[in-house]
Symmetry: C2
């Protein structure tokens, strides 16, 4: 019986990457062996270090290798505005717009009682604790525009209101995306964009 | 000054993979952290082991972690037919057709005097040594259909003929690919496919 060659083990292991099937994994394995062994060894080291050392920030629950992440530790951010997102990749997406200067809170999920994901799993006690000091004046609830996302947003709004009746709770605007053609847009989004229409200044 | 976070180092390192840009690297990093840390650590281990231990087979120059690769060590392969290819990935491509049962020889390049790649760099002395025992009766030269590939094929044919005037040297058939539409085919390939036309049996 032949043992599985190291090359085939490598091709198999590369398939754990999202979007990488057999063909791409083969191409990656051969190209790394052909011309970038140094880069591959570096990737191996960082991969292991990252998987073992990246945990969650104790304040905002974003990924971080420190107890408090760089965003939360940054005193130049506006601590009075808190943006609540579902996942760490949402933080990256919003940060890349460079149009938000407040702090984040990551739910790491959505309320979904059927899957056993209740308020505790999405960090509601951590959030309540964070809100209790009265620093946050506005919460932007940037959860997905799905049934679970809306339910989560509603729950958070109630929690925030119970904690401080004067807190402002907002939700991301919904409407036509930039570059979007009306013919390709679904009816519900279009209906929302009509209902929430803005006045043109001139 | 902020140091580069481990997450950003991971995203950077993932970009050494072919076909992976910034967006894909971000998606990979987050997905591995979210849901497959175990797979990522396994990938890290195999990546390092493969890069450090995979060398070239001393007989055919294909990638192998042993001195002699599994194909060369397999006594059930037809040792009288030798297929000569440019790179280890070509071996995989031909093996996947399951229509060749001989042995391989990997050039690890093409003759290209201007780039300093001469006969020694593409293993011609190893090949001459392999041919000297008279076991090989046919050589299939499966180099690319480029100028360098053709020059390499020519050189190999001469070397083989000098070693054994009775050896058969063949080249892969050229013509219309399966599923190919004539309208999309280049003129040279079409001209070749006419010159090399086959008789239809009925």
């Amino acid at each position: 019986m032949q043992s599985i060659s190291l090359l085939n083990q490598l091709i198999d292991a590369l398939k754990c990457l999202p979007g990488v099937g057999n063909k791409s994994a083969q191409r990656m394995a051969y190209q790394l062996l052909d011309s970038n062994r140094q880069g591959a060894i570096q990737l191996s080291n960082i991969l292991k270090e990252a998987m073992e050392n990246i945990g969650n920030c104790s304040v905002c629950r974003d990924y971080s290798e420190q107890a408090v992440c760089q965003l939360c530790a940054n005193t130049r951010r506006d601590a009075s505005t808190l943006c609540i997102v579902e996942s760490p990749s949402d933080v990256l997406a919003i940060e890349s717009t460079a149009s938000f200067h407040g702090l984040f809170f990551v739910l790491l999920g959505q309320l979904s009682p059927l899957d056993g994901i209740g308020p505790e799993e999405i960090g509601m006690s951590v959030l309540a604790n964070k809100l209790s000091d009265g620093v946050v004046k506005e919460i932007i609830v940037a959860t997905s525009s799905t049934i679970e996302g809306e339910a989560t947003a509603h729950y958070i709004a109630q929690l925030a209101h119970k904690n401080d009746p004067n807190i402002k709770v907002t939700r991301l605007a919904q409407g036509v995306p930039l570059g979007g053609e009306l013919g390709y847009l679904d009816q519900s989004t279009l209906a929302l964009s009509i209902a929430n229409r803005n006045t043109l200044d001139f």
